[in-house]
Each structure stands twice: as C-alpha cells, then as structure tokens.
C-alpha cells in the first residue's frame, strides 16, 4: 500500500454561503464515507478547513485569500492508503459528495523514503 493525499476542492462561493446545518450534514455524509474507508483499511486521517486564510507570495507579500479570484478553493484533505494511483483515484471517485457533484478532488501520491 502507498500513501496518498486527497485535496478537496470546492466552489468557494457556495462554501461561504453554507449554513451551519448544511455544513454539519456534509460532515455527517463524509463521516459515512470515512467509515467505509476505515472498513476497507484505506483510511488514515482527514480534516476540513475553515473558510479563511492567508497567502504568502514568492516575494513574501501576505494577502487574504485565496478565495477572491479562485472559483475553487481547497476546503479539506484526506490521507489514505491505496494500492496505486489508479486505485486512489478510483477511491476518490466513490466519495458521496463527489458523486453528488458537490466537490472535486486532487489525488497526489506521497513520496516515501526508504532507509536503505
């Protein structure tokens, strides 16, 4: 098994308009998905992000963001185990909120360092 980071991408405007009830409902739906990931031994951890942040540019300038121009912003992450990148992507596709067209995901393999 290899490790993968799933970056959750979500429409920033919609996310900002979400009520607490809607957000709780999303967390519950994601909780169900976590349960199935844990059952299959693929789950490591996950966290949602608050809807605010700062961006530091290469020339060290701090600004609020990245929500102003970006239509999609990162709104959370999952760490999972998967057999390979194909399977990791296939797993991301089974997320109920992805299936409902509510969010997208970026799937990135994590570099592992051996000790030999």
């Amino acid at each position: 098994m290899e490790k993968f980071l799933l970056l959750i991408r979500e429409d920033a405007e919609q996310r900002a308009k979400m009520t607490q009830e809607e957000f709780d409902r999303c967390i519950q739906i994601m909780g169900g998905w976590v349960e199935s990931l844990a059952q299959t031994g693929n789950y490591i951890s996950s966290e949602p992000l608050q809807h605010r942040g700062k961006v530091i540019s290469k020339d060290n300038i701090v600004s609020d963001g990245p929500f102003i121009e970006a239509k999609e912003a990162i709104s959370g992450y999952f760490l999972i185990y998967a057999e390979n990148l194909e399977q990791a992507a296939s797993i991301a596709q089974t997320c109920p909120l992805v299936l409902a067209g509510r969010l997208g995901m970026e799937v990135r393999p994590i570099i592992l360092f051996g000790n030999e």
Partner: protein, 500 residues
Amino acid sequence: MNKTDYKIGASNGAGAGAARGETVRAGTNCLVEQAVGRLYRSHYGKMVANILSRYPDLGLETAEDLVQDAFAVALTEWARDGIPNNPPGWIYVVIRNRAINRLKADKKMWVVADAGQADTRSVVAESLMGEALLSMEEVPLQEQVVDDEQLRLLFACAHPDLSPKVQVVITLKYVINLKVEAIARALGMTVDGIDKLLSRARKKIREEKIFLVEPHAAGLVHRLPIVHKIIYLIYNEGYKPASGDAVLHEELCGEALILNKALMDNGLGGRATAALHALMLFNAARFGARFGPRGELLDLEDQNRELWSKPLIMMGCDFLRRAGGLEVEGMSPVGGSTFKGGGVHGLGRGIPRDGAIRGGTAGAQPGAGADTDGVTTYHYEAAIAWVHCTAKSWLLTEWRLISRLYERLLEWGPNPFVQLSYAIALFYAGERTTALAILHQLLQTPAMNQYYLLNATLGKLYLLEGHPGRSREFFTRALGQTALVSEQEFIRRKMELIGD
C-alpha cells in the same frame, strides 16, 4: 331469494374455476421465472466472460446485452414450451448464435469498408459457421456450487486499480450475479449510483481486458488479500442490521461464506482465509439473535446467548485453529476456554513493535495485512469474536483480553472505529478514565464527531458512571445523527434507562 342465492353461488363457482386456471398458469410462469432467476444468479457473469473470451471482438457491453436478451428469450419461450433439459446450455446456444450473427453483421460492414481483407473474412465466417453447428451437449457449462470460472472471475474482479467499493460491486454483478437493483439494495445505494460505478468499471474492464486475462499464479497470490477483503466486505454488507430486505442480506452472508470456502477447497486459500472464515462463522452464529421479539435491534449485551448457534461457533473454532499463529491453548468449542497463561501469551508473535510495521511501503497493510508469520487482522478480529462467543455473559467477558487484542489490531494502522471498540473494552475491563479520555479524543476528530455510535456509547457509559445529565446530552446528539429508524429506536430504548 333462493334463486338469487344459487345464482350468486354459481357465478362464484365459475369465478373460482377461472381463478384456478389462472393459478395453474401463474404457477407455471412462476416456476419458469424461478428457474430463469436461479440460472441468472448462477451463470450471468460466467456467460458474459465465456462469450467474451470466445469472441473478444464483441466488447463487454454487447456481450452483456446478448446475455440479458437470452435470459429474456428463455423467460417467454420456456413459459410456452417448457423448461429444456439443459437450461444453461439452451441459453448459451442462444447467446452464441446471436453473437455470431452480430459479428457477421459487423464483419460485413467492415469488409465493405476494406475489400482487401476478403480472405480473412471467409476464414472467420467458416469458423463461425462451424461453431454454430456445435450441438447442445457439447456446451461446456456444468453445475457446481462455485466452479473454476467463478473463481477466475473473482480474482479478476480483485484488480488492484479498482477501489474496494467498485471491486465489491463488480463481484456482486459478475461473480454472484445480482441484478443492479439488488446490488443497490444490498449496498444501500441508488440504482443510478450503482449504474455510474458500473459504467466506469466496464470502461476499465474493456480497456484492460480484465475478464479476458488469466491472472498467472504469482498474480493470484498477490491478489488473495484483495479477494479476502472483497469477501469480507460482502459479508459485512449482509450482516448490517440497519437496512431492510433481510432475505437478501442473509444471502449475501451465505455467498461470502461459500466463496471463501471455495478458495480453501481449491487450494487457493491460506491461513488468512481460514481466519476470515472463522470470523465470519462466529458472527454468523449470532445472526438470528441480533433482533428481539418485535424485530428490534439488540446489541451484543442484550442478546439471548442461548440463541447463538453452537455448531457454527464450533466450526469457527476449528477454522481459527487451522489459521494458526495465535497459539490458542485448550480452545474448547464452547465456553470455559482460556488463552494460555490467562492472557495474550504468544499472540501476534513476530509482530515487530518498533514501528517497522507502521513505516515503509511494506508496512501497515490495513484490513488485509499479514506479518511475516502470516498472522493477519482477520486473526485478531476472529479471536475477539471468539472471546465474545464463548463468554457466559456481557459482564463476564474477558474484557482485558479483548482490549489487548484491539491493541494489536491498532498496530496495523490508525482506525478510529477500532479505537472506539478498544475504548469500550477498556471501560469494561475497569480502565474507565482511560476509556473516556480516548472517546473524548475521538469526539474531537471530524471523522467521528458526528458519528451516532460514538455519541451513543458516551451516553451509555456516562449513565454507568452516574452522570444522567451528560448521558442524556450525548444520547440526544446521537439521535440527531442517524436517519435510520431502527438505530433511532435503539437509542431511544437506551435513553429510557436514564429515568428522570
């Protein structure tokens, strides 16, 4: 008055006669439907794979269409002409003839487009005609509970590029031969959702020729853990008491046991297979006891242990012994047995505790992991189930032993749901403060904060701790976290214990 009465009686009699006639016809139709249904369940995937391996040019979708059509034809023709002597052979001939016709039609179009290939065409046509002359007796489809073709398909479905969910869906579709609606009901998904998963899976099956390629011996060994996982997932879907359709769910558990047994009978299984079998049997022993007289959900604590199936527990013990690796001494079939040294002496021998399992790519193989001794998570889960099965009562359960088994299970990788069970075991083993601390830690994780079972557990344990206020608070939260009526009722019954 009498006449009228008689008339009514007569017309009633005629009506009854007509109804009887219809019943007879409906009975035949019903028999045919059952026969076709059974055949579908045992042969759908095999027929698709079979026709596809003979005529790869058909493509998966066409092959599935042809098989579906043939079953529909059988339904009408058998109702008219009766069920033939060799039903699968009959259907197979229909599929094959239609496949040949389809290919001939395709070839014609193709030849018109490229006239230079005339020679190839005649050879193809000849061999196709020759095939069509095969008699029904030569059709190679025999009846077995699980045959080689089904096992081959099972390993094909265990493709490492597919997500476990998709692996389960295509196994239910092509190995267990469930229809899409049944798969949707079994997995608590919509038909549309299953269709979406299936259409993506079909694309992959087509592109990678997943059903055509014979996984070589080395591939089989590599895929065995995935096959175990598929079988266990199917079993768990069947075991879930929450969703309706009890018959379908019991069938799923049965199918999982049959497939797993077939692995062992065909020399494909290993110690993990035996451990998984033990685990499934221990759970199966409690299958009927999970519901009370009014059909309400009962947890382990409230189940009538007299209803647990002793023969299944005995069979489970047998497989757990065969699985080895746990050094379980004096494991008698029912009750009174203890692990050597009264603890977990020798359990998980060979599992490095220094993090070698956690790190590295060969490390934590969650859900299907095996250490160098071949001890797997199934061994520990089966051992836990065994301790429960052989305990005299909930309170007389060897909770300390169970908590240690959960500790070992957690060494395979993080799993908040295993941690929840671990904390419960710790609580009943007397380590109440540690248990509650773990549960509150879990409550802070986004994965578990809204999980009804965690909140219900906290409600229950706070009541035992003498904090009815906190107990009610957590139960109330749990109530809002599940939409399932059976689970809500379960929580309400627990809440009744709080009193005023």
